[in-house]
Amino acid sequence: MPHMNAAYNLARWLAGNDSDAQDVVQEAYLRAFKFLGGFRGGDSRSWLLRIVRNAFYDWLKRNRREETGTQFDEEIHSADDETGMPDTSLLEKADHELVRTAIGDLPCEFREILVLRELEGFSYKEIADISGLPLGTVMSRLARAREHLRTLVVERLELK
């Protein structure tokens, strides 16, 4: 199946567990095959991921009691010091397990944009196409996602 890893990776990060992710991917592939006629050329990976994303949000509406991941409280996490920047020298010590958990604790719109940018390597334009967001929103959301992630990671490194 084409792009199965990319589809699963996104669904897995969004849904938060394997079984839900597989359901979402299956739904997405069924839609993809049903609407193959709607594919107008271009990058088929972003086309498919757009379907995965929509399938996930539809699934979320049907199945979820609450949002995945903890709600991000901007008050609590406004750890930035007076210079406007957290102590980033610590970040060099961040290992992948810590970063993985921290991303998992972000709200799903932040997880999504980090996965598309950092794990799949899409450009801003491509992310805008996949998510249906305006380019400006992609930029600002990515910036906020990274800043939140940085704050979380620094907090946890300090606790260690």
């Binding site: 199946m1 990776n9 406007g84 992948h96 993985r100």
Partner: protein
């Protein structure tokens, strides 16, 4: 540019999404400002961790099978079908049908073969369409038959004959592993002008070879033949004359298949 302005576009800088002017302005500021430079380094280390590969969830084993069967079932469900409840009046209708079934049983081998052919041609045309739409035309992209042929070693339990017809305007462009009737088959990809041709090959399992014929489905032409114990299905949006020509060239140029 001051720190605040830099922080606003530093993500664009990190992602290589800035134009030259802004890129230079950020670089200049980074040289002058240790704080912003440190902030960038912090984000770079986070990104390094994220891109290291260990955060990527690979699709679990079994997912591919699950998806294939789901898609197959969905496509079956789409074919027209009516629902009915059992009604004794059906008996009157069914009795003659039962008699007809006996007659059919005698003709069964012929009927079975036809439906197998239908199913196969539908499958190869679907594979062809998928290979084009999903931009997954080739697993091994090469015009060299000595690269394409060995690539199939260990992937299928036979060695497909690979002929390059570049001189006859049908250059080989690569090969791909595909599935027909749940068995791995070799798909060789050729090009003729702007048309792509998928040539599906697998060993014959039938004793007698099936008839050679053209079929047209969803606007694609397919042609099927058997030679030297191998089955061949060529699928393309080329016209039938070109497809026939392609088949003739392959037959004449094709060497007997090597043993597995």
């Amino acid at each position: 540019m001051n720190c605040q302005e830099t922080q606003e576009i530093i993500h664009g800088y990190l992602d290589g999404e800035l134009d030259v002017v802004h890129n230079l302005a950020v670089e200049q500021h980074l040289q002058e400002c240790a704080m912003c430079a440190r902030s960038l380094r912090g984000m770079q280390s986070l990104r390094k961790v994220m891109r290291g590969g260990s955060l990527y969830f690979e699709a679990p084993r079994g997912l591919e099978k699950r998806l294939r069967s789901a898609v197959r079932q969905a496509s079956k469900a789409e074919s027209p079908r009516w629902s009915w409840r059992w009604d004794w009046r059906w008996t009157r209708v069914l009795a003659p049908l039962a008699a007809a079934a006996v007659v059919l049983l005698i003709a069964m081998p012929l009927v079975m073969r036809t439906s197998t052919e239908d199913r196969l041609s539908q499958e190869v045309v679907s594979s062809h369409v998928r290979s084009l739409m999903a931009s997954h035309l080739t697993d091994v992209a090469s015009t060299d038959k000595h690269t394409v042929k060995p690539w199939f070693n260990g992937k299928v339990d036979f060695s497909p004959p690979v002929t390059d017809l570049a001189d006859q305007a049908f250059p080989l462009i690569g090969g791909r592993l595909d599935y027909v009737e749940n068995h791995p088959v070799a798909a060789l990809v050729y090009q003729h002008r702007k048309h792509f041709i998928n040539l599906f090959t697998w060993p014959s399992i039938r004793v007698s070879s099936t008839p050679e014929e053209f079929r047209t489905q969803q606007g694609y032409n397919s042609f099927h033949w058997s030679q030297d114990g191998m089955e061949f299905w060529a699928v393309s949006d080329m016209n039938q004359a070109d497809l026939k020509n392609f088949e003739q060239l392959l037959r004449n140029g094709s060497l007997p298949p090597s043993p597995p």
